[in-house]
Symmetry: C2
Subunit: 606 residues, 2 copies
């Protein structure tokens, strides 16, 4: 447990949330894969600025400053010190929280400066001892989450009018520089010692893990041979050369530092279309109940079947008709159904990914009135000019993207009483497969449980399930390949895409849904239980690694973008390297770093 | 050694080439990485139809038929039997040879039918026992080569007017179906038992390794959820469903099989623009000398420094002015300099990749008259309407692409007497870095060796090196991302690209070349030796795995295509899975296949 605060990470987080009921403090399931050095207490992703240990936020009109000041002794796990603004998952959870709150709670903020409180150092990147001591799955998950946060920074810059500027008041190494790469503008202090660097390859035998290699060439447009040279120099590059090579946008003398940073932030702020005079809404604590076997929020819940390796997730549709206007949303804030669902789903995905690696299959159900979901969607799309509505749609987009890159098999079950329509249809489209019941469950005995424990057999179960494509599926929630999930599904089949899009707004029963290719299979009551059971049980019998690889390929048909390259090409190579003896073996570079011993490499190239 | 033929694979190949001098038969260097079961005799990629053991070619006018008839007992290594038309590297080397010869030796062939001589089976794919017993590097290299051959089949279909048709007269599983996927048209016999399948995931815990997952969605446009289902069914899908799901183009009853295959081949042949009445040229045996420490051909040679882990490769420019017309090329055939260089380089890349994994850095030099290289390029581009000239350019394109995906650090040294111009400039542009000497070597003492043993200090060394961008660099030799190497180099920097392209045809000395960004560094005589030595030695000190990952990212800036997705996203995931215990561990699925024991998986998802 944490050495200083006297509390386990989960206890700390749980307590900080005001004592939510049911937050367990016991050890998570599953022994570490490779190393037992780091304890496995359940990680919480909930925090708030008054509980930050590693970051400070300051506001000055349209400019916010996020200052990184990592507390060395406050690592999420024992066994390492977070020196030189190096970070672990706990540091990044706070950064993620800050980025989200800036979007929702601070409409007045139009530029965000990220800088460091340390002297002569911006950030040394991900903590190496943490990485060296972590099991493979932890490293992979850590990189995935930090990547998503950096993509979110770019999303805020591109879509929310909150431009991020990196003010590197000292050296930015590895993940420190990669954080800067996620910013729109990079300023480096020009003092003959400050530099940017990607020392992972020469020092640690791994790759920069948060998009560095992709962003250097594809975003910053650094020439590939210069990028190669740069990535082999542990000392990095600073000053005029860093500018000439496009590694940073400007090198600023110390004497002009503060005023130049302020001037540049003001310039970026001036370009923003964020509204004047708007009030933010507070991202209030999620009402979350968490036990070993269940997670529950206001609209989202999950049953965790550890024996079967399955999480059964249910998303409930809106309990009432939508309000008439966007003003209502402003007044009701975080309680507004679409925002609440996005937040709850986001937290659930992070919780299960990190704390429940043994649950390899996630089953998605919905419950509610599809017409009502569509009504909320119409309100959102009709008010998208409103900054807050825009933020809510963007949040849903990011949450669905998080699902797309989640290494779990996703199966949607579409049953009577469900509401897979519009925004919630995206859950079925994100799934690896979907099963839609044709007709109703003939056996209406309310005492007979469904295939698993999900509640069913209510009055509405006498009506066949419907799904609906709607405007929300036609462009507002693009995947990271910049296609809609429908476009990805029907990649190369424009007729099928047009047929599905043409029926937007109509409620489709199973036969039509299957014929249009919107669901995978549509068994009737006689076959349903057996077919679904086989699909789920079969999934548990396959190699988890092979499933991850297959899904990472099939989910991203078609074109690639910077984001898909980061999650596909770059992350896959990094995962490979993370399992290889040259990096992660007892004599590998990652494990030997700082010991004074040279790493031992198998010299054969693969 | 091979069980039946009484000769080692290398001896077999060497002898078959008519006793080329210097072909060593001793064991290759380097112990197997994970398993000692397969011996490591050096592999030769040279063969010819009269020596095929596993394939037959038959010709009928414009249609050639390639019949797979794998000889069970003729595996390249001991320890497995090639049952059910399963294949190993030896089988695929013959296929590669056949595809190449069909292009060059048979201009009359406009459609190629691939089928099987076995009853009820097309091909069971890559041999599982071979894979299970092979070290990691072998599996990765094997998949890379087989992928390149399948890409070559698609290239012949798209660019050479030789359309490939898969005539699946029985079940095509795994790599067998992936071979079909590389064809333009897939016919499956409809006899209630024949099916196509990708059983890798459910049976072996790995991915289809030759592009299957990418081609199913991105080429065949199978819907991703159906693809998911298909890839979990070991028994596969046949008949009408296979057609409906787009897995094959047609299912043909046995009674109509032969005539339908013939009719379809004739249809595709009729669409081809291959010339009438042209005569092919023979791909005569390469004049190759191979010892432990050197490889030598007519125009290409390599010194192998095993202690330093470096191969120094020299490509010599044309020894005489180009002929005046394409007719001359037809008459002189395989001796024509551009074709000879492409063939020699191709063979060298395959030889070093497979047989010399410990040589992690490849240094490229050229020697000759840059003006003469440009003259040959002009001849080629001016005669591209000629089928043979077109084939030569395409061959060079494919050879350079092979270099792009080679997991070795590539460094180009541009020195006096070199000819990095036009087509040969591509070698420098493909390199991870290039060093160009500014000025000449002041120390002209012919007895002083250069940095390493490459010959220098001749009369032409008194003249500074030049390079030249030319028309050949502007579109004829695209990378697999469909950009030229110049476009990839200057990705996102259109001004730099325009500046470089504008100087096409001019001979550029080091200062200009560096200023234009065409070379990485341009040290003068004083710094040259030290700077180059440091770069090369430093490379040998880095983790080979991390270098592979870095280069796989930096070399492919910008957009992705089916081909780059296969080598980046798909192969990287496969490599990861190949190292994981669930597949390759002693209790993993790949090792336990066929033993009657179930594989043991770590159930945690990563």
């Amino acid at each position: 447990m944490a050495a200083t605060a006297g509390a386990a990470p989960e206890a700390r987080a749980s307590g900080e949330q005001g004592g939510e009921p049911g937050m367990s403090e016991q050890e998570g399931r599953g022994a570490p894969e490779a190393s037992g050095e780091l304890s496995q207490a359940r990680v919480s992703f909930q925090t708030a600025p008054d509980r930050y240990r590693h970051w400070r936020i300051a506001f000055d009109g349209a400019v916010a400053t996020l200052t990184m000041d990592v507390a060395e002794d406050n690592g999420l796990r024992d066994g390492y010190e977070l020196k030189l603004n190096s970070y672990d998952l706990g540091v990044d959870i706070e950064l993620y929280d800050a980025v989200q709150r800036l979007r929702f709670e601070h409409p007045e903020v139009r530029a965000v400066v990220i800088t460091s409180a340390k002297d002569k150092v911006f950030s040394a990147g991900a903590n190496i001892r943490m990485l060296a001591a972590s099991p493979h799955a932890w490293k992979v998950n850590f990189c995935k989450f930090t990547n998503e946060t950096r993509n979110g920074i770019e999303d805020a810059t591109a879509c929310s009018g909150q431009a991020y500027l990196a003010a590197l008041n000292g050296t930015a190494s590895g993940g420190g520089y990669e954080l800067a790469l996620a910013c729109e503008h990079i300023m480096l202090i020009d003092d003959r010692s400050a530099a940017v660097s990607l020392p992972e390859l020469p020092l640690l035998g791994v790759l920069p893990g948060t998009g560095g290699l992709t962003r250097v060439t594809d975003k910053r447009h650094v020439r590939r041979d210069l990028a190669d040279h740069f990535s082999t120099r542990p000392e990095g590059v600073g000053g005029a050369k860093a500018v000439a090579w496009r590694l940073v946008d400007e090198a600023v003398p110390r004497s002009a530092w503060s005023q130049t940073v302020a001037a540049r932030a003001a310039e970026f702020a001036a370009r923003s279309a964020r509204p004047a005079g708007a009030a933010g809404i507070e991202l209030t604590p999620l009402g979350k109940t968490r036990t070993d076997d269940a997670v529950s929020y206001g609209h989202v819940s999950a049953l965790l079947d550890h024996a079967g390796g399955v999480a059964e997730i249910t998303v409930r549709g809106p309990g009432q008709e939508p309000p008439a206007s966007a003003e209502w949303i402003q007044d009701h804030g975080a309680g507004f159904w679409p925002l609440a669902v996005a937040r709850e789903l986001d937290d659930l995905v992070l919780d299960l990914r990190t704390n429940e690696p043994g649950l390899g299959t996630w089953i998605f159900r919905t419950a509610g009135d599809p017409g009502r979901v569509l009504a909320y969607d119409r309100l959102l799309l009709g008010s998208r000019d409103d900054w807050l509505v825009n933020e809510i749609i963007l949040y849903l987009k990011r949450t669905l993207r998080r699902l797309d890159v989640t290494s779990r098999s996703l199966i949607a079950l579409i049953e009577p009483g469900s509401c897979f329509a519009g925004s919630l249809l995206e859950l079925a489209l994100a799934a690896d497969r979907s099963y839609m019941l044709a007709g109703v469950f003939e056996d209406a005995d309310p005492d007979v449980a469904s295939w698993r424990g999900a509640p069913r057999r209510r009055a509405e179960d006498a009506v066949p399930a419907v799904i609906a494509v709607a405007e929300m599926n036609l462009g507002a929630l693009p995947m990271s390949n910049d296609l809609t999930r429908l476009q990805t599904r029907f990649f190369g089949d424009p007729d099928a895409l047009a047929a599905a899009e043409k029926l937007a707004g109509q409620l489709l029963e199973a036969g039509d849904a299957e014929r249009l290719g919107l669901v995978t299979f549509a068994p009737d009551d006689i076959d349903w239980a057996e077919e679904v059971r086989l699909a789920v049980e079969e999934r548990s019998g396959f190699s988890p690694d092979a499933l991850t690889g297959m899904e990472a390929n099939y989910r991203f048909a078609g074109p690639e973008t910077l984001e898909t390259k980061i999650f596909g090409r770059l992350s896959a190579w990094q995962n490979w390297i993370f399992t290889r003896p040259s990096a992660a073996g007892p004599d590998g570079a990652l494990r030997r770093y700082g010991t004074g011993q040279r790493a031992v490499f198998d010299r054969k190239r693969v």
